[in-house]
Amino acid sequence: MFLFYELAVIPMYLLIGIWGTGPKEYSAMKLTLMLMGGSALLLVGLLGIYFNSSPDRSRLTFNILEISKIIIPLPAQRLFFPLTFIGFGVLGALFPFHTWSPDGHASAPTAVSMLHAGVLMKLGGYGAFRVAIFLMPQAAHELSWIFIILTSISVVYGAFGAIAQKDLKYINAYSSVSHCGLVLFAVLMMNQTAMNGAIIQMISHGLMTALFFALIGMLYGRTHTRMINEMGGLMKIIPFLSVCYVIAGLASLGLPGLSGFVAEMTIFVGAFQHPELFFRIVTVLVVSSIVITAVYILRVIAILLLGPTTNEHFEHLPDAKWFEKISVVTLIGSVAAIGLAPFWLSTMIGASLHPIIEKILALNPF
């Protein structure tokens, strides 16, 4: 698992560095070095788990299922859980290790951004689940308050950061930081509903952010600028793309009927069920991020799409071609499907979460 985790990072350097835009070498180098830094911490954590994976040092193993059957000694857990969690968190946009994300996503070409934000960042969330929390639940329970603070900062700060941006891709990158931070936030709550929500959020955000980056790419291909104050009133000029952008925005801010709502609702309900008061207060603070998300999404839609056209160069832009329509409609369709009928997804998720939940409930009865 570690091998492929590291392997996923290196092609990003070449992809962003060769085909990107803007300060691409700087962003590519920053992204690669920070992500490999996360892998470095992760390696130490994994070696620690390996050497503690057998009570009498006789049958050391790297097999996750085998290790999950025993309890790793508590002092080792307290040392290696932060290392492993931070190692995965760097990829999953944990504050303060998220700084590779805005530059990286903004400088990358469209398809690379879609892949990276939509898929790669979920590796961080998956790893945190599978390895950090599954194998070391006691330390996770004890130390979760530190990481809850960090993840809630990344959710709220990411949203605030998005408000201040003028470049479409930077807005989206900060939005990704915020949503992926929400995944890690939910995972740390350590109860069934929140974890279900985390996985739904992973899928939903993956689709949403891919949709967003695709639309931004299409806009950039037509107008050759990503600054929102240079474009305006595009709804009349390219109605199909604008409507799709509005739908994507509404999914991102959690409108019921689209997948964002299902995910965030589950996460917040689950998080609020945590028995300790501190966590509930933090949950309330994080819920405020929904409002902040609404601010930046609606602001962009207003400036970009609605109102009179501000730039006469863009009067005659072509609307979406057939292949663009197919890709965007597919993504919107899946987002809506999850939003309107999530039960087919949640049975699958429930089945896969079953061993993890069992283990957590057995050791930390709430």
């Binding site: 392997l7 350097y13 560095g17 130490v44 070696l47 050497f51």
Partner: protein, 473 residues
């Protein structure tokens, strides 16, 4: 002791025969066909390498002065592969006009060095060990000054011989202290008599310093950059891989068999020196422009990582060191092979000259990228597994802090390796290096390096085989 016993010394005898035949061949060779002697020598060495892999008998000769065991034969075979690759890569350089008068001496000197290293690895007595080291060092100094009319090359040779002489003197001083306090120089006897006597520990420190010079550990590394930059490219590759590898092999054998009593002492020493070596090697490599100096500092930091394998004193440590040196041979010779090909064709050696190489010579830049990724330790190439096993060996004995520092240093090294990749692939250039086609030996050697890097990553039987052999030293 019958004559048949001498077959235990099979490696060295074959090499001596090869050296002598290369020396004499010049007399009988037709002067017009001088260049074909290159082919003859390389083929001769290839035959020797293959014979080296045949199963051999273990035992000791000369009353225990010379020991041959499975591990040591494996180490010699690995060095043979490396030298064969260096020789194949040097064919292009040797065919140049300026070198036409010096072809025989080149082979003779390289084979002599290798003989010295073989004796060093098979040592059972400190005297054979010392003779081996001296025989390994002096011809290399002559080789470093091979382009004697080029200032830098002559400077490299002088620096190498003077600093080697100093370090050999210190080594010998340490050995004399060990002899004085234990009364014998046989490895077995010394191990029995060794205690925590302060004079003995001082002797050990001097011995370690002498060895550290050859491995380029900080603070004994100052000769490395200048010598690597000044020597001809093929000698640089020989120095960085074979010389360092042989010294590491014998160091690990001696530490595990002769000095296990003071394990706590040398573990502390290695802890400090490995952190210094990795960090300083990496930090200095960032600002280098000349590729040979760049690879010199990178090889200093690689030596630092290998020390992590030594620190545990366990079987996994020895296995990982041997495996890593095998992988390191292929990766470093791959990188140096590309540098040599470009240097032979155009004479350019700076990173800035490599800008835009991908557009003119895509295969060369891909080989260089593969070699650099293997050196940096990126999966799935073999370099990753090598580093991983080294770190696991250190972690097994609880040195987690050291592993953390090593991994952070890997990140720093990734930065400067990516600088070269960036130059080749991303930076656009006005006049990139022209497209050229290397002749067959260069391509063959680079092909073997690539195959070595890729296969070692996937074939775990190689690691298993090494592990089985490294049990009993």
């Amino acid at each position: 002791m019958s004559l048949g016993n001498f077959l235990i010394m099979r490696h060295e005898m074959l090499l001596i025969v090869a050296a002598l035949s290369v020396l004499i061949a010049e007399i009988f060779w037709d002067p017009d066909k001088k260049k074909s002697i290159i082919l003859f020598s390389v083929l001769l060495f290839a035959v020797i390498t293959i014979i080296g892999f045949l199963p051999s008998t273990e035992g000791s000769l000369f009353g225990g002065m010379y020991i041959s065991s499975g591990t040591r034969v494996l180490m010699k075979n690995i060095l043979n592969i490396g030298v064969l690759l260096v020789l194949i890569q040097s064919v292009t350089w040797l065919k140049k006009e300026e070198n036409s008068g010096k072809i025989n001496e080149y082979f003779l000197l390289i084979i002599s060095t290798l003989i010295g290293m073989n004796f060093m690895i098979s040592a059972g007595h400190f005297l054979i060990f010392y003779i081996g080291i001296e025989l390994a060092t002096i011809p290399i100094a002559a080789l470093a000054a091979y382009d004697r009319y080029r200032n830098k090359s002559a400077e490299a040779g002088i620096k190498l011989i003077l600093s080697s002489a100093l370090s050999s003197g210190i080594l010998l001083y340490g050995l004399s202290m060990i002899y004085g306090t234990t009364g014998s120089m046989y490895f077995g006897e010394v191990a029995k008599q060794f205690g925590n006597n302060s004079l003995q520990i001082l002797g050990f420190i001097f011995f370690f310093s002498g060895m550290a010079f050859k491995i380029s550990i900080v603070p004994f590394h100052l000769w490395t950059a200048d010598v690597y930059e000044g020597s001809p490219v093929n000698i640089t590759s020989y120095l960085s891989v074979i010389s360092k590898g042989a010294a590491l092999f014998i160091l690990i054998i001696i530490l595990f068999t002769v000095f296990p009593v003071i394990m706590a002492t040398w573990q502390k020493t290695i802890f400090v020196t490995s952190i210094l070596t990795m960090t300083i090697g990496n930090l200095f490599a960032i600002r280098q422009q000349n590729l040979k100096r760049f690879l010199a500092f990178s090889s200093i930091s690689q030596a630092g990582y290998i020390l992590l394998g030594l620190i545990g004193g366990n079987q996994l440590g020895m296995t990982s060191v041997i495996y890593y040196i095998l992988v390191y041979i292929f990766s470093n010779l791959g990188a140096f092979g590309v540098v040599a090909a470009i240097s032979n064709a155009t004479g350019k050696e700076n990173i800035d000259d490599y800008n835009g190489l991908y557009h003119t010579n895509p295969k060369l830049s891909l080989i260089m990228t593969l070699a650099l990724f293997s050196l940096a330790g990126i999966p799935p190439v073999a370099g990753f597994f090598g580093k991983f096993f080294l770190f696991t060996a250190a972690a097994q004995k609880g040195y987690y802090l050291l592993v953390l520092i090593a991994v952070l240093n890997t990140i720093i090294s990734l930065f400067y390796y990516l600088l070269v990749v960036k130059a080749m692939f991303i930076v656009k250039s006005e006049n990139p290096i022209e497209k050229f086609r290397s002749d067959f030996p260069t391509r063959f050697a680079l092909g073997i390096c690539v195959a070595g890097i890729v296969i070692n990553g996937f074939a775990s039987i190689i690691f298993e085989a090494i592990r089985n052999l490294s049990f009993g030293v």
